[in-house]
Subunit: 103 residues, 2 copies
Amino acid sequence: MEDTQKYALLGKMTAQPDQREALLSILLQASHLVSTAKGCHQYLVYKDLQTQDCIWISELWDSVEDHDNSLHLPGCRDLIMQAMPLLAGKPEKIELSLAGGKQ
Amino acid sequence: MEDTQKYALLGKMTAQPDQREALLSILLQASHLVSTAKGCHQYLVYKDLQTQDCIWISELWDSVEDHDNSLHLPGCRDLIMQAMPLLAGKPEKIELSLAGGKQ
């Protein structure tokens, strides 16, 4: 897939001690929620193997607008509200554009 | 896809000034090379939208062994040797395990 227009997002989150699994569960629900959203090509959730409380998310969208619109999907706000108390600090957001590769 | 065994890798690289496009081209060749490698589910190359000379790669493999084996594919070493002079510093490697989500 050689498409330089797609918008990608990496998110890095640190859970409160012993809350990674709870936070993962919420993020996996979010992945199900947005998987049908317009323009969503990928929403993967990972555990960091080197940093105990750390979670990463990688998202791939047709456009930043599609990503932003998905935040208004029914249920999305609720999941964000559930996740916030489990976070230790502000999530890190890395905005990217896809240059290409195998997806 | 709910599969907690898969091995994922995020790589962050900084190109020498004005060398991002040249480095991207090499990494896209690498993505073609490994796309047929055993256990390779994803090898995507991105430009960082906030940091001018920065490139990210996201890889998804059945196992860390499959990833490591791919480094021995014919042509892989050559691409690594081509890329090295274009790098400004050591690439950052973030090792992850997939918790799930939409791929």
